[in-house]
């Protein structure tokens, strides 16, 4: 789609789709960190890290605030729930379907027995 405005789920999953960003999220799930602290274990330039950070912010996963010359980043706790929710809904729908299928097959088996 050309000229399509990405929704929250798009940005969220997109953010999680990159290994570098997942490492950053993992780090932040152990507590807040500055930009340089986030960058330290990553083999790339600082600007690259900041770009990733911006995607994480845009997705709502991470919140940051600058105090003095240090920008501190932390996880937005509720944010991951959005993705989790969507996945869970699919699983439920799928399981409900299998249940119905199970009932159907059971009924079918009854038919067999009657015959």
């Amino acid at each position: 789609m050309p000229n399509y405005q990405a929704g929250p789920l798009d940005r969220m999953f997109q953010a999680l789709a990159d290994p570098t960003r997942r490492v950053m999220v993992e780090r932040l799930s152990r507590g807040p960190a500055s930009v340089s602290e986030l960058a330290a274990p990553l083999k790339m330039s600082l600007p690259a890290v900041v770009q990733h950070l911006q995607m994480l912010e845009a997705s709502g996963l991470v919140r940051t605030q600058k105090v003095g010359r240090v920008r501190t980043c932390q996880l937005e706790p509720g944010a991951l729930q959005l993705a989790e929710q969507w996945i869970n809904d699919r699983r439920l729908q799928w399981e409900r379907r299998l249940d119905r299928l199970g009932v159907f097959l059971a009924e079918d088996e009854n038919q067999e027995k009657k015959t």
Copy 2:
């Protein structure tokens, strides 16, 4: 990263990051479908749909098989678990951290009372 081979989680989240593909997954969570059935509600050409389908297959979310001239697609039930797992692990880590923080604050409060 240049020359980087995408891992399973990358492909999985990447697959889920597109609204068209999520619609396809939603459809499939209600039961198997042919390619044209998947394409029907989507405002794009068949080849485009097939490309999306290929990403879903590559991510392991969807399995397909061709019988005669029709390709039938279904969800790979366990696949979503991978993503769900990762998200859950982050949540747990975060919550454990908050617990420790809570303990720390409680202890701190005790200190205060003693003073």
